[in-house]
Symmetry: C2
């Protein structure tokens, strides 16, 4: 059921928040302007770290807005600092926590229509939208954020990304 | 149900195969030794492309072996060329196609035990293992493979990674 994936998405956004905390701490420890890290990218035609975080949030926020039929808060995409990016993640998690199980009833079979780039509109059934579009997009931008930090010498590891998983004792 | 995620995992591995095809074609077109790309990495202490592909395959293969209780084929981790990596992906997909729905009945609540690194053994319930460990790991290594290629000037885009999703007309 789609509602069951909300905690997984929140877990991933919390992990992203932890990665950014390590990025900010690394910039301070190495006396690097934090904006050097938030504007870093892996290729000239790829998005910088700040944009990767914005899109991770949007994948989650717009995804559950579409599936639930609830309006999502609009973000202005003006974040440049680690603090601003943390605030965006927190606002996104607040929205996800507000999505109710009732609003997602039937969403597995609902047709979801969404933009892909400026010119294209795509349609998928809710369940395919979740597992083949929303989650892969969330992971794509979160892992790219991880890779940008790691490429720039921040001491992050895969367990930072997987943090919060429900291990049994 | 866990069995429903098999096609999503196969889709991702097929997308990874497509990314490697573009990598091989780019090496040929730019007269670069293909081993330069398969041994490329984003940081000195990160795995190279070939290893990222091996681990993507293992996340899928070992994941469904543990969930279904079926023995997975063993791979020797000797691949260095694009052709060898493609063969590994193909063998992994063959194994995933052999996993039956019957073997996964009850796997949502089954306790899965698995190694995390050389010294640690972790336990999770099947459903959490799928959504919080196996799939995030698969995406982690596949997106990192993407980022290595893109960082090295290969003309890949996000739609190569999302390829094969079930869009409605």
């Amino acid at each position: 059921m789609i509602v069951q994936s909300i905690p997984d998405v929140i877990r991933t956004l919390n992990a992203l928040s932890g990665l950014l905390e390590k990025g900010a701490a690394s910039a301070q420890a190495r006396k690097i302007d934090p904006l050097v890290l938030t504007s870093a990218r892996l290729a000239p035609d790829m998005f910088a770290l700040a944009r990767q975080v914005q899109i991770s949030c949007d994948a989650a926020k717009n995804g559950f807005a579409r599936l639930s039929g609830v309006d999502a808060p609009k973000f202005e995409d003006t974040e440049t600092t680690f603090e601003q990016l943390q605030a965006r993640i927190a606002k996104t998690i607040d929205f996800l926590r507000s999505v109710t199980a009732e609003s997602l009833v039937g969403s597995e079979d609902k047709v979801v229509t969404f933009p892909a780039g400026p010119e294209r509109v795509l349609k998928m059934k809710g369940n395919a939208y979740l597992t083949q579009w929303m989650l892969p997009n969330l992971y794509f931008h979160t892992v790219t954020a991880y890779n940008i930090l790691r490429h720039n010498g921040v001491d992050v590891g895969k367990m930072d990304y997987l943090k919060g998983a429900d291990f049994l004792p």
